[in-house]
């Protein structure tokens, strides 16, 4: 298990928790449960967690696979600088967000899942990982060399004599010469 980046799993877990929190919150609000205020909070918290966790981090080793359409989210998350880059902060943030979910049955599962995600992020932070945005790489176009602008003045040199003779023998020339090209005629 040497080379694992724990943050990748924490990210999947946190995204799932956000969705579960959101679902529990919607059920609590729509069903007008006792303590629906906590459910309403869970809806907001769930959406926030999903938005925060949607953009995947760039991997320190290996190819990163983006989630579809994550570029705009990457830009937003990147804007918060060290707050989103650092996983200690993220771990504590998730731990804090999940607590109000424990006060109502509909959101308890979301709370526990987010708590687990927070623990995995803590492990990632202790191992020194951090969040890197995946940004498109700008390609450098080499400036066009001068020699391209001036077409050659002379025709290309002829191949050496023995190769020309071989081509004629094999009758596999790519083209037919209108006149013979051997040297001694």
């Amino acid at each position: 298990m040497g080379k694992i980046e724990w943050a990748m799993w924490a990210n999947e877990q946190a995204l799932a928790s956000g969705l579960i929190l959101l679902t529990g919150g919607i059920v609590g609000v729509a069903g007008q449960f006792r303590g629906w205020q906590f459910a309403a909070y869970a809806v907001a918290a769930g959406v926030f967690v999903c938005l925060l966790e949607y953009p995947r981090s760039k991997r320190s080793k290996g190819t990163s696979v983006e989630r579809s359409g994550q570029y705009c989210f990457t830009v937003c998350v990147k804007a918060f600088g060290p707050l989103t880059r650092n996983y200690y902060f993220r771990a504590f943030l998730h731990a804090a967000i999940c607590v109000p979910g424990g006060f109502m049955l509909a959101t308890v599962l979301g709370c526990v899942c987010l708590g687990i995600a927070s623990l995995i992020y803590l492990v990632a932070a202790i191992r020194g990982e951090h969040w890197e945005p995946i940004l498109p790489v700008k390609e450098f176009r080499k400036p066009v060399a001068d020699s391209i602008k001036n077409p050659p003045q002379n025709p290309p040199p002829r191949p050496p004599a023995d190769m020309r003779r071989k081509q004629a023998d094999l009758e596999r020339a790519a083209y037919d010469n209108p006149f013979s090209v051997t040297a001694n005629e």
């Binding site: 080379k3 694992i4 990748m8 799993w9 999947e12 059920v27 069903g31 991997r59 290996g62 308890v108």
Partner: protein
């Protein structure tokens, strides 16, 4: 259209049957709980949320039964072997076991979500009834308790703590609630660690977390033990709810309305899952027994480009072509088993694997082997297998097109060797008359051992005058100017400058249309089997070409596509 039926018909049929059973179970149990008279009073408290919770429960029972079966690889090998009579289409379905496992898992996840949401509503409404928020009938029903002459309907009995916390308290103090939360949590952890990104990058996390399924099944079996979903029982004299529902004060006082009695249903989940659980237990036991069997090293060879060849001998080991084994080396890791395709033919008295440096485990293994003194035995090795894949079908086709891309060329080492042995011995099992072999790789680095094999085969075929039997083409998909120049300069020599083989190396990717055209032209009436071991993108291309060049007319050429997967 005809080609689609040939290639995908049976899979689609199986999926339709599976989905049909799911839908049937859902609707059947939904109506059972929504219309059954014995649940009239229960429905009065819960509405249709009762049926919405029980119907997915039935679907969950069915799918939890199914999910363990596709991963019993030894059982599948057994079935595969016994299907020899039933045609290759049936056996090909067994290749798709992992896809089916994932599909069933998605269904379990979906039904868990529905089941859980319905039960959240149930618990909330039970709580409200108990608090007396609803009508008189609900309150009266909820007041019934488990005493000598009454039985409860509403499982929530507690009223003296904060009303908002009663549902949470209820869930964590009943068997059903507690097991439900635990197994849902286990399921969520299993699913998040099984996402493709995690699985492909850190197999160990996926594998170890997946063992939470043990907790899942243990909790599942006990989930219904509390019998808290209750239905009305027959009393003597009978309690007619249509008459008695408006005469609550008279319950127990008039003969037509004795106090209604309730009891929970017998838990059924264990009946669904006990069979597969036992089968899976046998599977793991078999793997352990195999691990304990002695494996000795016949030869250990370091090949060029950090490829390790191990020739192993194990008592009673019988293999078929293109099969793979799982290797475990306790010196490196106690619990990890890694799959490797075998590169030897069944006709040989040993089995061999070629292991390439591709990660932690393989690197350590190569390290250990390099430090061994000459002729010494290697570290203890556990071998599980062999397990079958589509390559076993290769001898059934008159004409075979074998396509190996990169590391995917490995099963074909076994196949080519075996075909050659069978050909020399005139084995009647061999229906193959012609083989077209396409080897695609970026560079021959790490496959020099395979080139050697082809050279040997080439020489032997020349000696017997059977040059036509095997046509092979090597495609180097990565090349640069200096390579091209080197080839151009040596283009007149008999053997290829890169591989030393008689047949020349091609550069770039094959033009599949031309290849299929050529095969079709040279074999106008045959059934051609196309076998690929390589990337998904190439599989799609070849599948399309097979469909395109197949003729529905049974007298003309037909291409069947088979894919290996790991």
């Amino acid at each position: 259209m005809g080609n689609w039926i040939i290639n995908h018909g049976l899979t689609s049929f199986i999926l339709v049957v599976w989905m049909g059973i799911n839908i049937f179970l859902f609707v059947w149990f939904y109506l059972f709980y929504d219309l059954g008279d014995q649940f009239f009073y229960t429905r009065h408290l819960l509405g249709s949320a009762l049926a919405w919770a029980r119907a997915p429960a039935a679907v969950l029972n069915f799918n939890c039964m199914l999910i363990l079966l596709p991963v019993c690889r030894n059982l599948l090998s057994l079935i595969r072997g016994s299907f020899v009579c039933c045609g290759r289409t049936m056996r090909k379905q067994l290749d798709k076991n992992l896809s089916f496992h994932k599909l069933v898992a998605y269904m379990i996840a979906l039904m868990t979500a529905v089941h859980m949401i319905a039960h959240l509503l149930n618990v909330e409404w039970y709580n409200n009834s108990r608090q007396g928020v609803y009508d008189k009938l609900s309150t009266a029903l909820s007041n019934l308790e488990d005493t000598e002459n009454t039985t409860y309907l509403n499982p929530i009995r507690k009223t003296d703590i904060d009303k908002q916390q009663i549902p949470t308290y209820f869930v964590f103090t009943t068997i059903a609630g507690l097991t439900g939360v635990i197994i849902t949590l286990a399921l969520i952890l299993i699913i998040t660690s099984s996402m493709e990104v995690i699985r492909r990058s850190y197999f160990e996390v996926f594998w170890y977390t997946h063992h939470l399924f043990i907790i899942f099944f243990a909790g599942l079996v006990f989930h219904g033990a509390g019998r808290i979903v209750r239905s009305q029982q027959k009393t003597d004299p009978p309690h007619n709810f249509t008459y008695c529902k408006d005469r609550i004060e008279d319950w127990g006082r008039i003969p037509e309305c004795p106090i209604p009695q309730f009891a929970g249903g017998f838990p059924q989940t264990w009946m669904w899952v006990i069979g597969p659980m036992i089968l899976y237990l046998c599977e793991r036991l078999l793997r352990f027994i195999r691990y304990m069997q002695r494996v000795s090293y016949r030869r250990i060879v370091m090949r060029p480009s950090k490829v390790l060849e191990l020739q192993l001998v194990k008592n009673g080991f019988k293999m078929e072509v293109g099969q793979y084994v799982f290797l475990n080396c306790p010196a490196i890791s106690q619990l990890e088993w890694h799959p490797f395709t075998m590169t030897s033919a069944p006709e040989e008295d040993f089995f061999s694997v070629h292991i390439r440096s591709a990660g932690d485990w393989t690197d350590k293994l190569i390290d250990i082997m390099q430090q061994l003194p000459e002729g010494a035995q290697g570290p203890k090795m556990g071998v599980d297998g062999p397990f079958g894949t589509a390559s076993e079908d290769v001898f059934d086709y008159e004409v075979s097109m074998l396509v190996g891309a990169g590391i995917g060329v490995t099963p074909f080492a076994s196949i080519l060797k075996s075909i050659w042995y069978k050909f020399k011995d005139s084995n009647p099992k061999l229906r193959t008359r012609k083989i077209y072999f396409y080897w695609l790789c970026r560079e021959t680095h790490a496959f020099e051992w395979f080139t050697d094999l082809l050279q040997v085969l080439e020489r032997e075929m020349e000696e017997r005058g059977m040059g036509d039997f095997l046509t092979y083409k090597l495609y180097l998909t990565k090349w640069n100017e200096s390579d091209a120049t080197h080839v151009r300069v040596h283009s007149d020599e008999d053997t290829d400058v890169v591989t030393g083989l008689r047949q020349k190396t091609y550069y770039g990717r094959p033009a599949w249309d031309k290849e299929f055209e050529q095969v079709r032209k040279e074999n106008p009436t045959s059934v051609v089997g196309t076998f690929l071991c390589g990337p998904e993108a190439l599989a799609k291309v070849l599948e399309k070409k097979c469909a395109k060049y197949s003729d529905v007319d049974p007298r003309k050429t037909k291409f069947y596509f088979n894919k290996e997967n790991f």
